[in-house]
């Protein structure tokens, strides 16, 4: 079953909120993981690990550096769904 972009955004917001303590509604598509959400590389890898499991996708390490905003991650996960 594929997830809609909206479902991916909502799921990602929950994961980021658990990791950072930020409210889910502050995790919107245009936000930068590093500049807006203050997420360091270890936290980013935690988010990637949890997102891979939640959405049954693979996000290669080489791709993670291209995921600047929450929207980038949503788009990548959406495209990676089988």
């Amino acid at each position: 079953m594929a997830y809609s972009e909206q479902e991916i955004l909502a799921g990602l917001a929950e994961i980021v909120s658990e990791e950072t303590g930020l409210p889910t509604d502050s995790v919107s598509s245009e936000k930068s993981f590093t500049d807006d959400l203050d997420i360091d590389s270890l936290s980013m890898m935690t988010i990637v690990t949890l997102a891979e499991e939640r959405f049954s996708v693979r996000i290669p390490d080489d791709e993670v550096k291209n995921l600047t905003t929450v929207g980038d991650a949503v788009a990548y996960i959406n495209g990676a769904q089988g």
């Binding site: 658990e18 990791e19 303590g21 935690t46 690990t49 949890l50 891979e52 693979r58």
Partner: protein, 414 residues
């Protein structure tokens, strides 16, 4: 002329099977309450563990920490953080240069929940699902490191490991950091979070745990003729140590002094204390010598006494050897009868009890002692707390660990 600084205690913090902070824990200890309860899980049946109870925290950590903090820290670090925040606030959050602030927080077992959870994940879901924070959470210095980060301490952060003596050794090392001039204030203590089926099974395998499953609250009974082993506990105790000069300059409340630290090793056996008590005697004598006090000044001993058949009496005889006839006037308390055994947290929590016993002039009771062992050669406080004498008085807190580690701390009134 330079002199060696005196070391005082200006802050206390804890989360224990008796309470979520120091005041509630101390009240429960003076009231003689037990923190041991039947575990609300199926570990005993599922894994055929012969022990179905433990002394778990009275207040769960999620009531004191945020969700991200809970996820980022192993339970051993969570408990230490709760206790450290209380101790720091209790000390009045002293302002000082970060280079003069140190941290020493020990755990006897380390991040065992994180270690075993990650192993389960690896086996079930392969390496890609192992969380990136696994190593910083499982490492045994993690509690010390998180407290160091919380306070921005830069004089040094250490995690001394000596099994059930770890918490006391941490406080002893912290006192030395101040005496040697490395720091003015050190946040120190011990923590443990090992109530997990694996260590429970492993301690049961070593035949050191009580199996009194039908009456958990009566299971920890140091010096009672019917004692059959210790009760696994969890929690943390943290104190703020400070040079007397630094504390006086900022007008801090002083609970008591850490006047002497004595360390030794048995060189005898990996789990059994040496029956001749020589290592314990060496540690206590060293602590009294550093404190420069006479045996007659010691009016209270918080015993290591875990409720094992062999260990309790060896310690009592060692105290008698060190203090001689003065031992007749010592009020002996075995607080593990109430808290269970916090392993790496035990020595720190019992230092807090010792400090409060002197500060409030009340030695806490030892519960569950229906029939004192006839070979007990000391005066055990049972039933009610015992009032301690006025004037300058001293107490010893003993902690011993698997491996033959012996730590004695001499605490004196402010």
């Amino acid at each position: 002329m330079s002199t060696t600084p005196d070391v005082v205690i200006t802050g206390l913090g804890a989360t224990t099977p008796l309470g979520g902070d120091v005041p509630s824990t101390w009240r429960a200890a003076l009231a003689g309450e037990s923190g041991a309860r039947t575990l609300e899980n199926d570990w005993a049946e599922t894994y055929e563990i012969p022990v179905s109870f433990a002394a778990q925290l009275k207040v769960r950590p999620e009531e004191a920490l945020t969700r991200p903090e809970m996820k980022r820290m192993d339970p051993s670090a969570q408990y230490a953080m709760i206790a450290a925040r209380e101790a720091w606030a209790d000390a009045g959050a002293p302002e000082l240069a970060p280079e003069r602030l140190g941290v020493v927080v020990s755990s006897g077992i380390g991040g065992i929940w994180t270690t075993l959870d990650a192993w389960d994940t690896l086996r079930e879901k392969k390496a890609r699902r192992v969380l990136p924070m696994t190593v910083p959470m499982l490492m045994p210095n993690s509690p010390a490191a998180y407290v160091e980060l919380e306070l921005g301490a830069r004089a040094g952060a250490h995690a001394l490991v000596s099994a059930c003596a770890s918490g006391a050794e941490a406080i002893g090392y912290a006192a030395e950091m101040i005496r040697s001039g490395r720091a003015d204030v050190v946040v120190a203590g011990g923590t443990e979070a090992a109530i997990h089926p694996m260590p429970l099974a492993a301690f049961a395998a070593s035949r050191t745990l009580s199996t009194r499953n039908d009456d958990p609250a009566a299971a920890s009974r140091p010096y009672d003729t019917q004692r059959d082993g210790f009760v696994l506990g969890e929690g943390a105790g943290i104190v703020v140590l400070e040079s007397a000069e630094h504390a006086a300059a900022r007008g801090a409340r002083v609970y008591a002094r850490i006047s002497g630290v004595g360390l030794s090793a048995d060189g005898y056996h990996i789990t059994s204390p040496n029956p001749d008590g020589r290592g314990q005697v060496t540690a206590m004598n060293a602590a009294l010598a550093q404190a420069d006090i006479a045996a007659a000044d010691v009016v209270h001993v918080n015993a290591h006494a875990t409720s094992t058949v062999v260990g309790d009496l060896i310690e009592a005889r060692s105290v008698r050897t060190v203090l001689g006839d003065a031992a007749d006037r010592v009020a002996l308390s075995a607080t593990k009868s109430m808290t269970g055994h916090l392993l790496g947290g035990a020595g720190a929590l019992e230092t807090i009890f010792t400090v409060l016993a002197l500060h409030d002039r009340k030695a806490p009771p030892t519960i569950n002692v229906d029939q004192p062992d006839p070979d007990l050669v000391l005066d055990l406080v049972r039933g009610e707390p015992r009032t301690l004498p006025d004037g300058q008085i001293a107490a010893i807190n003993n902690s011993f660990g698997f491996g033959g580690h012996n730590v004695a701390l001499v605490v004196t009134t402010a």
